[in-house]
C-alpha cells in the first residue's frame, strides 16, 4: 500500500507539480500561482457555463430544460475522451520508467493502479471543466432537491470513469498493434489519427443526432441509453430524485473502473516489453556517406525527430489537417448560402459580398487553426537531454532556429495549400483571391513558427519522462496556442464587429491586405524577439 501511495504521489507531482513547484511558479510564489490558476479556471468555467446556459435557454423555450444535463455530460465525455485518450497511451505504455519499475520489487498491479489513479485525476479535471457548469446550469433551470444535489456532487467523481474506460481501450488497441510492427511509431501515429478522427466524427454526428431526438421526442434518446447508460442513470437519479437510478449509476461506473484496470493490468507488461524489442532488419544497402549542407542535415534531423514521435506528429498535424476540413466546410456552407440567396432572388451584389465574407472567414479561420499546433512551440522541449548535442556542436543559434522554423512551415503549408485549392473549387475562379490565399498563410505560419520557437525557448521542458509532458502538457504549448489564437482571432473579431459599417462594402483585396499587414507586423515583432531574446534564452538553457 505504501508503494501505491508513493508512486501515485510521484505521478501526480509529475503531472501537476510543475505548475505549483516549477521554476516559474517558485519565482512567482505559491500564493500568486494558486491565484493565477484559479483566475484561469474561473475564466474557462465562465466561458463553458455561458455556452451551456445559452443552450439551456433554447431548451427552456420548448420546456425541455432538464435535458441540458444530458447535453452537458455528453460534451464533457466527448471532450475528455478526445484529450485523455490522446494522453493515456504514453502514460501507460510508453513511459520511460517502465524498465526501472520492472526491475524493482513492486507488483504489477501497484504500478498500474498508481498510473491509473494519476491518469484518473487528469480525466477528472477535464471532465469537471464541463460537468461542473452543467450541474450548476441544470439547477438554475430546474427544481433543486437535496437528493439531487447530493447525487450530483457524488457523481462528479464517478463521471470520468467512462472516459478512462474508453481511453484505456483506445490506448490498448493502438499500442498493442503498433508494438507488433517494425515501424511502431508510424503505426501508432496512423492508429491515433484514425481514432481521433473517429471520435471527432462521432462527436459531430452523435451530438446532432441526440439533439434532433431530444427536440422531436422530448425523451432521453435511445443512443444515450445504449452508449452512455451512466448519463441516462444520473439524469434520472437527479431529475426524478431516484436512489435506484443513482445506485445503477454507481454500479455501472464501478464496472467501467474494474474493466479499465483489468485491461491495463493484463496488457501493461506485455505491451511495454514488446515496445522495448527492436524489430529492425539490417538492410543490404551499402552505408551512405553522402554529405549534406548544415541546414539540410538539421532539417532532416528535425523531420526524423518529428515523425519518429507519434505524439508530436499527431499534435503538429492536427491544425494543418483541420485547415483542409475547414476548406471543405466553408466551401459547402458557401454553396448552400449562395443557393439560398438565389432562391430568395437576391441580387448579384448580395451574393458577391456573401462570397467575399466566406473567403475572409476561410482565410481568418485557417490562420487561427495553423497557429494552434506549430511544431516549433515544442521543438526545444522535444530535444530533451539531447539538447547538449546541439549546444556542443559548432552550430550557430541562427542555423538551428532556421532549420526548426523551416521545418514547421514545411509540414504546415502543404496542407494549407491543399485546403486553398479545395476551397477554390467551391468558388468561381478568382486569381487575386487565390494569390492572397497563398501569401497570407505563408506569413501567418512563419509568424506562428517564429513566435512558437521564442515561447519554447522561454519555457523549455527538457527533463520529461514521457513525450506527453513536452508535447501536450507544457506551459510553452499553452502560451503559444493562446497567443497564436489571439493573434489570429483579433482581425476576425474586428472584421465581424465592423462588418456592417466598413467591411461589407470594402473590396476583398483591401480587407485581405489588412489581414496581411496585421500578420506582417506580428512577424516583424516575432523576428525581433527571436533575434534579441532568442539566442540569450538558448544559451541560458541548462542541460
Amino acid at each position: 500500500m505504501n508503494n501505491l501511495l508513493t508512486l501515485t504521489k510521484i505521478y501526480i507531482k509529475q503531472i501537476f507539480g510543475r505548475y505549483l513547484y516549477g521554476e516559474k511558479a517558485k519565482k512567482r510564489g505559491l500564493y500568486k500561482t494558486v491565484l493565477l490558476i484559479l483566475a484561469l479556471t474561473a475564466l474557462i468555467e465562465y466561458s463553458i457555463a455561458s455556452m451551456i446556459y445559452m443552450f439551456a435557454l433554447q431548451l427552456k423555450e420548448i420546456k425541455l430544460q432538464q435535458f441540458v444535463l444530458i447535453y452537458g455530460l455528453i460534451i464533457s465525455a466527448l471532450f475528455s475522451i478526445f484529450i485523455v485518450s490522446y494522453e493515456i497511451p504514453s502514460h501507460f505504455y510508453k513511459a520511460k520508467d517502465y524498465e526501472n519499475l520492472a526491475s524493482l520489487p513492486i507488483q504489477n498491479w501497484v504500478v498500474v493502479s498508481a498510473k491509473f489513479l494519476s491518469g484518473f485525476l487528469t480525466a477528472l479535471i477535464y471532465s469537471l471543466m464541463f460537468s461542473l457548469p452543467t450541474y450548476v446550469i441544470y439547477f438554475i433551470f430546474n427544481s433543486v432537491t437535496v437528493g439531487g444535489i447530493i447525487y450530483a456532487l457524488i457523481s462528479l467523481i464517478f463521471v470520468p470513469m467512462f472516459v478512462m474506460f474508453i481511453s484505456c481501450i483506445i490506448g490498448f488497441i493502438i499500442n498493442y498493434f503498433s508494438s507488433k510492427f517494425k515501424s511502431k511509431s508510424i503505426v501508432n501515429t496512423i492508429l491515433m489519427f484514425v481514432f481521433l478522427g473517429a471520435i471527432m466524427a462521432f462527436s459531430f454526428t452523435s451530438s446532432a443526432g441526440v439533439l434532433t431526438n431530444l427536440f422531436s421526442s422530448g425523451e432521453c434518446p435511445l443512443t444515450i441509453k445504449i452508449i452512455t447508460p451512466y448519463i441516462y442513470f444520473i439524469f434520472n437519479a437527479i431529475y426524478l430524485n431516484s436512489f435506484v437510478y443513482f445506485l445503477f449509476f454507481i454500479l455501472i461506473n464501478l464496472a467501467y473502473l474494474s474493466l479499465s484496470i483489468l485491461i491495463v493490468s493484463l496488457t501493461y507488461k506485455k505491451i511495454n516489453s514488446n515496445m522495448l524489442i527492436s524489430k529492425s532488419k539490417v538492410s543490404n544497402k551499402p552505408l551512405n556517406y553522402e554529405p549534406k549542407s548544415q541546414l539540410k542535415t538539421l532539417f532532416n534531423k528535425e523531420a526524423k525527430g518529428f515523425f519518429g514521435s507519434s505524439m508530436w506528429t499527431l499534435n503538429g498535424l492536427v491544425g494543418p489537417i483541420m485547415t483542409i476540413v475547414f476548406a471543405i466546410m466553408f466551401g459547402v456552407l458557401l454553396l448552400e448560402s449562395v443557393e439560398q440567396l438565389k432562391m430568395a432572388s437576391s441580387d448579384d451584389f448580395t451574393i458577391s459580398i456573401t462570397t467575399s465574407m466566406f473567403k475572409i472567414m476561410y482565410l481568418g479561420f485557417t490562420s487561427v487553426m495553423v497557429g494552434t499546433s506549430v511544431s516549433t512551440c515544442t521543438t526545444i522541449s522535444m530535444e530533451g537531454k539531447k539538447f547538449a548535442i546541439l549546444k556542443q556542436l559548432p552550430l550557430s543559434f541562427k542555423q538551428i532556429a532556421t532549420a526548426k522554423i523551416l521545418f514547421s512551415c514545411a509540414i504546415t503549408l502543404p496542407f494549407v495549400f491543399i485546403g486553398n485549392i479545395i476551397f477554390a473549387c467551391f468558388i468561381p475562379f478568382d486569381a487575386l483571391f487565390l494569390l492572397i490565399s497563398f501569401i497570407l498563410p505563408i506569413i501567418s505560419v512563419l509568424t506562428f513558427s517564429v513566435l512558437g520557437l521564442v515561447i519554447n525557448l522561454k519555457y523549455p521542458k527538457l527533463n520529461w519522462n514521457n513525450e506527453a509532458e513536452a508535447v501536450k502538457q507544457s506551459l510553452s504549448l499553452f502560451v503559444s496556442m493562446f497567443s497564436d489564437m489571439g493573434i489570429g482571432a483579433i482581425p476576425l473579431v474586428i472584421y465581424f464587429a465592423l462588418y456592417e459599417t466598413l467591411f461589407a462594402t470594402l473590396p476583398l483585396i483591401l480587407t485581405s491586405l489588412i489581414f496581411i499587414v496585421w500578420f506582417l507586423i506580428w512577424l516583424i515583432v516575432s523576428l525581433i524577439l527571436l533575434k534579441n531574446k532568442g539566442e540569450k534564452l538558448y544559451n541560458k538553457i541548462i542541460v
Binding site: 539490417v282 519518429g308 514521435s309 559548432p394 542541460v543
Partner: protein, 235 residues
C-alpha cells in the same frame, strides 16, 4: 591546447567550480579526477560551450570559447558521460549528421567512420536505429562521432564506462595515437589505475576547487594515484 583561467560556475548559491585554472598542452593526456559532484562534468561542459559560466576564461587552441564559440567548437569534441543520442536516427545517420555539421567531405568521413567504427566493433550495427543500441554501443557511436572531424582537443567524460574489454583497450590505443599526432585529451574518470597508466598529466578537483595539478609522476611522487587521491579527499 586547452587553457582555463579562473573558471567559476555557480548554480544559484552553490559554487560548482571555484576559480579553477589549468592547462593541457598538445601531446598530453590529462586525467580529471574527483568525487561525484566535485565539478568535473560542469567544467567539461563549460569547456565544450554547453553551459555558460560566471567568471574566468577558457581558451581552446588559443580561441576564447565565450567570445568565439563557433571556431572553438570546430577544433574540439566532447563525449558526455551518458550519451543521449537521437534515438530515432540510425547509427550511420547520426554519424553523417555530425560529419555534415563539421563539413567533413565524403572521402574523409567514409575513411574515419570505417576506421573507428571497425576498431570499436560497431561498424556492423551502423544501419540499426540508435533506439536498439545498448549503453556501450551508444558510447562507442558517440566516440566515433567525436573522432570523425579529427579534432585537436578531446573532452571525454567517463569514456570507459560501459565499454567491453576489447573496446576499452582499443580506446586507450586511440587516445595514445591521438596525442601522438598532436592532439590533447582532457578526460574525467574514476578508474584511477587506467589513468595512472595512460595519462601524462593529472588534475584533481575537490568541491569545485583544484587541489592538485601537473605532470602525473610529479603529482603522485612515490605514491599510487589512488593513495594520493584518498589522501587529498580526506584532508
Amino acid at each position: 591546447m586547452l587553457e582555463i583561467k579562473n573558471l567559476t560556475k555557480k548554480f544559484g548559491e552553490k559554487i560548482a567550480v571555484d576559480n579553477l585554472s589549468l592547462k593541457v598542452e598538445a601531446g598530453q593526456i590529462c586525467a580529471f579526477i574527483g568525487h561525484n559532484g566535485a565539478g568535473k562534468t560542469t567544467t567539461l561542459k563549460a569547456i565544450a560551450g554547453i553551459i555558460e559560466f560566471d567568471e574566468g576564461e577558457i581558451f581552446v587552441d588559443g580561441i576564447n570559447i565565450q567570445k568565439n564559440s563557433m571556431e572553438a567548437k570546430k577544433v574540439l569534441a566532447y563525449l558526455p558521460d551518458n550519451p543521449d543520442l537521437y534515438e530515432h536516427l540510425k547509427g550511420i545517420d547520426y554519424l553523417n549528421f555530425i560529419a555534415d555539421v563539421f563539413k567533413v567531405d565524403k572521402e574523409t568521413r567514409k575513411k574515419n567512420i570505417e576506421e573507428y567504427a571497425k576498431r570499436l566493433q560497431i561498424y556492423n550495427d551502423l544501419k540499426l536505429p540508435i533506439s536498439s543500441y545498448s549503453h556501450g554501443m551508444k558510447q562507442k557511436l558517440a566516440l566515433v562521432s567525436a573522432l570523425i572531424h579529427k579534432p585537436k582537443l578531446l573532452l571525454l567524460d567517463e569514456p570507459f564506462v560501459g565499454l567491453d574489454p576489447i573496446s576499452s583497450h582499443e580506446l586507450k590505443e586511440i587516445m595514445n595515437e591521438f596525442v601522438k599526432n598532436g592532439g590533447a585529451i582532457f578526460y574525467s574518470t574514476h578508474v584511477l589505475e587506467v589513468a595512472e597508466k595512460i595519462c601524462t598529466h593529472v588534475a584533481i578537483i575537490k568541491q569545485g576547487k583544484l587541489v592538485a595539478n601537473g605532470e602525473m609522476k610529479k603529482v603522485r611522487g612515490l605514491k599510487s594515484l589512488e593513495s594520493l587521491f584518498l589522501e587529498l579527499e580526506n584532508e
